[in-house]
Structure formats: C-alpha cells, structure tokens
C-alpha cells in the first residue's frame, strides 16, 4: 500500500525518480506524509469520536467536571509537533544543499528562456530546443531569460529554478535513468506559458556524445534542404514564420522564394538567395510592407553553411501555391 500510494517507481502521488536527488526528496516527502496522516487521523478521529460520544441527546447530561485547561497537556502537544517540524526543517535543508550544490566536474549547458520556448546551448556552440544529457553524469545549467521570469522545472528530477532576466541562475542534476522526461515552465509568463514545454532526453553511456556529434553536424550528414528544415524548427524561425501560408508575427515563408516582395516605402524586390540571406543577417535593411521590424538579427548566430541550408529549405516551399495570409507579396 505504501509504495502504491507514494511510489518508489511511478506511484500515485510522485512521478518517476530519474535523478540522483529524487530518492532523497521523496524520502522526506514520505516522512512528512506519514506524520501528517497520523496527526490528521488523530484530530479527525478524536473529533468524530467526541461528536458521537458527547452529542446532545435526550437523557444525556454532560459531566460537570470538564477541565477548562491543562497546562501539562498543552505544553506536550506544543513540544511534540515542534520537535517533528524541526526535524522536517533541517532534513529539508540538508537535502536542499545537495540539490543546490553542483559537483565540480559538472558538464555545463547554457539555458535561455524566452516567451515561449527554451534554448539549450552546448559547449561546442550547438543550439537545440530540447535538452540532451548523458546518464550518470552531473550536468549544470546556467540559465537566463531574455524577457520575463520563467522557471525551469523537471518533475522527474525534482528540480526547479527560476530563470530571471538580467542575471544567471544555476541548477544541477545527475540523471540516473535513460529516457525522455517533460520539462515545464513553472513561472507564469503570459499567453504561451502552458506551451513552454520541452523534453529532456537522457542518453545511455556514449549515446549523448553520438547525438551531439550528429546534431552539430546536421549540415554534413543531411541533405541541405532537410538540414534547413531542422534549423527552421530549432532556431526559432517557426515562432514567427509559418510554412503553410498562415499568418504570424512575420510573413509566411511559403511561396517566398523567387517571388516579388513589396517593401515598406513601396519598393519591390525579388526574393532570391541574396535577399533571403540579407533578411536573416540584417532584417532591418529591407522590411516587408505590413510587418513590424521585430525580427532579431542572426548575424554571428548562424553559420554560412546553415544559411545556405535554410535557403535550400525555403526553395522547396516556393513551388507550392500561395497561402491566404501572404501580405506585401504578389
């Protein structure tokens, strides 16, 4: 009953334990749970017993000598809970110190929170929207936000930390179980707060290195258009640009390549390779009519080869029909 209720593996109340601190956190959770259950049953049990035993009913006379206080009793039931909660307090602190103190050899990943996605930057410069980590190796996240406060939360690891603009917050864990676990944003951040989800994938030994190698070398292992499609998804373009003709913060990329574009001020250009390249590196140079100049520059963030791949991807979208939301384009 105990393990069914609280769960050593995946129980009724607690999710899977997939990090080194999870068992310690859960042990404390269980301690508090059983202490609470005991006191709750004691209080409610006595209450119901007194209600039944001393209820007003015909022929019942309440005893005359009911006590109006009892100092010994009252001190006892102050001191026992006091001792118990102090145990909880210091136990909680001890586990918290483990949870909050990364070992020196931790692998470091930079995390950026922004409305409403996570970006993970690996030491070799690779950027991804999902977190990949090796099993049984401490990982340290150095996190910051580009806009409002977010909070990085992995229930399976029992870790959570606010991600604050203008400063770096840190969090570490050692994953102990291979698998894929949800990552939530736990601090309310507006419209897309509940969609600010991603996953953390824990790789078996050696698997992480292989993944990172392949992910960083997308351009060498995949056809350019396919690599471009991945980049479109993982580098945030999809936030603002659709590829199916629907509207968004930026114009749809469907049917862009090779077609004329109306710019702010009335000029026209044809969307060729150079125009697309310029749009990505210097978005402010030519702004599309009907849109706000809010696209960030990708100068220094995308390599030449990656831009080439993106252009190749956009070319594959050119042949299809134009969508309804295309503005400023003929």
């Amino acid at each position: 009953m105990k393990s069914w209720l609280l769960g050593a593996e995946r129980g009724f109340m607690l999710p899977v334990q997939a990090s080194s601190v999870a068992p310690a956190v859960d042990a404390l959770f269980k301690f508090i749970f059983w202490v609470s259950a005991f006191f709750f049953l004691l209080i409610v049990g006595l209450m119901l017993f007194f209600v039944v035993r001393f209820r007003r009913r015909p022929g019942y006379q309440k005893p005359t000598e009911a006590p109006s206080h009892n100092t010994f009793l009252e001190i006892t039931w102050s001191v026992i809970p006091l001792v118990l909660v102090m145990i909880m307090g210091f136990w909680g602190f001890k586990v918290f110190l483990d949870l909050n103190t990364p070992p020196a050899n931790a692998y470091e990943v930079q995390v950026t929170g922004q409305k409403w996605k996570w970006l993970f930057t690996y030491p070799n410069g690779h950027v991804d929207e999902t977190l990949h980590v090796p099993v049984d190796q401490p990982v340290r996240l150095v996190m910051t936000s580009e806009d409002v406060i977010h909070s990085f939360f992995v229930p399976a690891f029992r870790v959570k930390r606010d991600v604050v603009p203008g400063r770096y917050t840190k969090l570490w864990f050692r994953a102990t179980k291979v698998g894929t676990y949800p990552v939530f944003c736990a601090e309310y951040c507006g419209t897309g707060h509940s969609d600010m989800l991603t996953t953390v994938e824990v790789h078996e030994p050696g698997g992480f290195e292989r993944w990172l190698e392949a992910a960083s070398n997308l351009l060498n292992t995949l056809p350019p258009a396919e690599a471009g499609r991945r980049l479109y998804q993982t580098r945030g373009c999809a936030q603002c640009h659709s590829v199916d003709g629907t509207g968004g913060i930026g114009p749809t990329l469907k049917g862009l390549y090779g077609h004329p574009v109306v710019l702010r001020g009335g000029n026209r250009v044809t969307a060729d390779e150079n125009y697309i390249r310029e749009s990505i590196l210097e978005p402010m140079a030519k702004v599309v009519a009907g849109f706000d100049p809010v696209m960030p520059t990708y100068k220094g963030r995308l390599k030449d080869q990656e831009i080439t791949a993106l252009v190749a991807f956009l070319k594959t979208l050119a042949s299809e029909d134009k969508g309804p939301a295309e503005q400023g384009r003929e």
């Binding site: 999710p15 202490v35 209080i43 006590p67 307090g89 229930p155 507006g190 707060h193 509940s194």
Partner: protein, 554 residues
C-alpha cells in the same frame, strides 16, 4: 439586570431606526456599515465564483474548451484578485467583525464611526477601480503581479493596481478602528483575559493590517511608477531588480494570509465553545497563539521564494521560521477538539461548518509542511499542490469559517431563523464539493502539473475532470445556502435574543439589536461561562438562569 430575551424585529431596532436609502449610505452605525460590507463582499464572492467556474470549465479538456489562452489568463487573474482582495481579506473583519466587535465589547459603536464609513467607501472605490480594469483590458498577471511581466504586459495593470492600493487603505482604517476600540471601549470589568477569543483574533489581525499593509501600498506605488513613468525599479531592462518585487510583495502577502486566517480561527473558537455547550479549553493558549502568529508571520515571507535564487542561509531561516508559525496553529486545533470533550455537542449548522473547518484546515495546514521543507518545496512550488494547499487554508479555512459565522450571527443580524434542514444540506454539499474539487489537485501537483496552465498534458485530464465536477457541486451547495438565507428573510421564524446559548455579550441584547446596541449596559463575565444560560421553551431560546441556580442544566 435585565437581559432581553425576545425578538425586536417589529419594534425599534437598528434596521428600523432611520428610513430611506440616505439613512443607510450616510449611516455611522457599525451594524449598518457591517451589513453594507456584508452585501458587497458577498457580491464579490459571487463574482469571483463565476470566474472560478469559467476557469474550471476551460480545464475540462487538455486543450481549448470554451475560451482562448489570453481570456483564460484573465479569468484566473480576476478570480484570484476578486477572491483575495475583495472577499477573503476584508470578509471576516470588515463584515462580521464590524457588526459583532462593538456588541461583544458591550459598546455602542466602534471608536471612530466616521473612519469606519470612510473605510467602507474606500473599499467601494478600490473595488470599482479593480473592476474597471475588466472593461478596459482585463489584467492577465495573476493576483501576484510579478514583475517584469506586470510592467510589460499591455493590459490595464495600472487601474487594478491602483484599486488594490486603495483597498489597502480601507483595510488599514478598519485595523486602526479595531485596535483603538478594543483598548478604549472595553468595559472596566472586561480584562484582557476576559475578552472573547474572536476579539483577540481581530486584535491580532488588526496589528498585521496596520503594520503590513503600508508595505503593499509602497510596492504598488513603485510598480505604478515603473509602469506609468518608466522609472527602473523592478524591470532589469530599465536597470531594476525583478526579484525585489517578490520580496516586497510577500512581505505583505504572507502576513496577509494571517489577516485571512486569524479572524477565522476566532470564529471557530466561538462556534466550538457555543455548540459544545461548554467552556472553551485552553483559553490563554488560544489567545496568545493569535498574537504569536501575528508576530512570527512577519518573518516568513521568503518561503514563497525558495527557488528564486535566495542564499542558502536565507532559505534555511525562512524554512525554520515557517515551521515555527505552524505550532500555534496546531495548538489551536488541539484545543478546539479538546473543547468538545465532555461537552454537549449540538450539530447545528454553524457547528457543521466548524467541524468542516477542523477537517479542511487540518489538511491545509499539514500540507503547508511539505511546502515549508526546502527540498520538497523545490518540487512542489508553482504546481497544483500549492493551489490545493492554499484553497484548503483559505477556502476550507477562512471561507468556511466565514459562512459558519454568517449562519451563527444571522439571527442576530436579521432577527430571523433559517430552515435548519436546508442549511445543513447546503453545508454538506459544500463540504463534499470542496473536497472533490481540491483533493485531486494535490495529486496532480505532486505529479508535476504546474499551476496557471491553459493547456496541459493529457495524463492530467482525469484529475482536472474530477476537480471541475467538484467545483459545480460546490456551486450548487452555495446556491442552496444562499436560497436558505434569502428565504429566511421573509419567511423565517422570529429569532430569540440568544438562540444558541452562547455567553458573549452580543447575545445579551435583542435580535436584531437596537440602534445603540443595548437597552441597559450589559455586565461582562467569563465569556465562556455558558452554564449560566438555560433553555426556555416560552422564549424559544436561552435565558439567564436565576441567580443561585446550579449550572445551566434543567
């Protein structure tokens, strides 16, 4: 000394004293101000309740059910803001406290009747500002207004913030009034330790109101300065510190949760003693624990920020102090249970609410322990576990005590008795509905379901469905409770002066009381010496036993 026994509904009483709407709007009578507060606060509760049902309806499915994400965010913000700032915080002190405090003191009114009326109108103005924000672009920040989100979202944060700022003054004025009244208007024979426990709790509450609320005012002013004038205080883009806001905000809002619960505990002390027909157990411990809670509650605000990057030492201190504040609360619970021991427990409607309180607040307080311990809080904070915890304390605790108090003092306020059977049925539905709605939330929170989520993972759907069903059962319970009370207004039996056999002074005058509260100055004794009162069938209520009679038994 003669103590009235009967009903005064058809004689001169505070309701008939002065006619026309002006005699209400410009009244200085604490009882009428209390009634106006009561109506306004119940209207706010209704409003907040409608928002809550809309929120629960949206959560019926994991994706869109009835509204889009932005509307949902506005709904939960308005729900929280209405419930906290318009209902729970002013609820017990301003509505019930206003009516009862001078009566319990045997006084004619509060110390500053004009300030009392001003505080009511400030409440109205504050509420209007808060509501105007709904029309001009409802706020979507959550009731906590965290920066920098609240300084960057383009909804009318300024209006609602200003509203809450004004509501703060209303609360401060009530606090001042109560403190001075308790110091100055107590009859000479009512020493501090002869004061009813409800007054002790209102005193503790008032201390927090006047000391903590100004901090909220300053915080909100700074927020307004940043939003309206671009002065960088909290927004890092302007060189400010976003976490500073959280310190300021919780420095008020944690003590504020005790503004909510202390008066509720006071009501429970009265209800348990009255309906156990026996002296309250451990009077001094209960009285002193109110003051202990009021003092310690100022020092625990950091437990809302365990994951925002406080130093380890700060976290340790806040955690330990949080646990300390749990002790006086636990002591009160034990004392209430002990009060029933060897009593004569009568399961009248107010007592059902009191028993529900012990059950629900027990869960609320005990789940606070999971949140006070650092390691478990890291996992549980900002999940539905916290949502469930604070509903068990604020709704299961404060709101349930408020309704218990309302049913308890209803005969005194209106001069009418309600249908006991319907009222019990409503209390039962509320209890069942509440547990259905919120018990499931502990489980999904522990499983990792974050709060303030419009979309959620499908695995949480069953819990959300149960919770939504519970919310509607709860709503039915409240509709029935409201119907019972409204029905009593025109069809209820006339209430006697003391229908329950309580010994505090508000029962020493007719129901409803005359304009100046007492025909003859009552003589306070031990507020829990219920044995002086005996049931008198002719009067339909309790009357003082003839001097010398031994105890209250027939």
């Amino acid at each position: 000394m003669s103590v009235p026994v009967g009903n005064a509904l058809h004689q001169d009483n505070y309701l008939t004293h002065g006619k026309g709407w002006k005699s209400w709007l410009f009244t200085l009578d604490h009882k009428r101000i209390g009634v106006m507060y009561l109506i306004s606060i119940l209207a706010s509760f209704l409003l907040g309740g409608v928002f809550a049902l809309l929120v629960r309806m949206e959560l019926w499915t994991p994706q869109r059910t009835i509204m889009d994400a932005n509307t949902y965010n506005q709904m939960f913000t308005l729900h929280g803001a209405a419930m906290i700032f318009l209902f729970i915080i002013p609820g017990i002190p301003a509505a019930l406290g206003n009516f009862i405090l001078p009566l319990m003191l045997g006084a004619k009114d509060v110390a500053f009747p004009r300030l009392n009326l001003l505080s009511y109108y400030l409440w109205v103005v504050g509420a209007v500002f808060a509501l105007v924000s709904i029309i001009t672009g409802a706020v979507d920040t959550g009731w906590t207004f965290y920066t920098p989100y609240s300084t960057t979202t383009n909804t009318s944060v300024i209006s609602i913030t200003f509203g809450v700022f004004i509501l703060g003054f209303s609360s401060i004025f009530t606090g001042i009034n109560f403190i001075v009244s308790i110091h100055k208007l107590r009859p000479p024979t009512m020493t501090w330790f002869k004061m009813p426990l409800f007054l002790w709790s209102l005193y503790g509450t008032a201390l927090i109101q006047i000391l903590a609320t100004p901090v909220l005012g300053i915080t909100l002013l700074l927020l307004l300065a940043e939003r309206a004038l671009g002065v960088g205080i909290f927004d890092p883009a302007l060189g400010g510190d976003p976490v500073l806001f959280q310190h300021f905000f919780w420095f008020y809002s944690h003590p504020a949760v005790y503004i909510m619960i202390l008066p509720a505990m006071g009501i429970i002390s009265e209800l348990v003693a009255t309906f156990s027909h026996r002296h309250i157990f451990g009077y001094k411990f209960i009285a002193m624990s109110s003051i202990a809670i009021a003092v310690i509650s100022f020092l625990v605000w950091g437990h809302h920020m365990f994951v925002s990057g406080q130093s380890n030492l700060a976290n340790l201190i806040f955690s330990i102090l949080t646990f300390l504040v749990a002790i006086p609360s636990a002591v009160k619970v034990f004392n209430w249970v002990a009060t029933m021991y060897k009593g004569e427990v009568e399961l009248a409607t107010p007592m059902l609410y009191a028993l529900a309180f012990l059950f629900l607040f027990g869960i609320g307080g005990l789940t606070g322990l999971f949140l006070g311990a650092l390691a478990t809080d890291v996992h549980l904070t900002d999940t539905y576990f916290v949502v469930a915890h604070f509903h068990y304390t604020m709704f299961g605790g404060t709101a349930i005590a408020f309704f218990g108090g309302l049913f308890y003092w209803w005969p005194k306020i209106t001069g009418r008795m309600y249908r006991e059977k319907w009222a019990r049925m409503a209390a039962f539905l509320i209890f069942i509905g509440f547990n259905t709605a919120f018990l499931a939330q502990f489980i999904m929170g522990a499983q990792g379901m974050p709060r303030r989520y419009y979309n959620y993972l499908p695995e949480f759907a069953p819990y959300h469905k149960v919770s939504t069903i519970g919310a509607f059962v709860l709503a039915v319970g409240f509709v029935l409770a409201a119907a019972t009370l409204l029905h009593s207004l025109y069809a209820g039996e006339l209430a006697p002066a003391n229908p329950w056999g309580a010994a505090t002074l508000e029962w020493h005058t007719s129901s409803p009381p005359p304009h100046e509260n007492f025909e003859t100055q009552p003589v306070p004794g031990d507020p829990y010496d219920v044995d002086q009162w005996v049931y008198d069938a002719a009067a339909g209520g309790y009357v003082l036993a003839p001097a010398g009679a031994s105890g209250g038994r027939a």
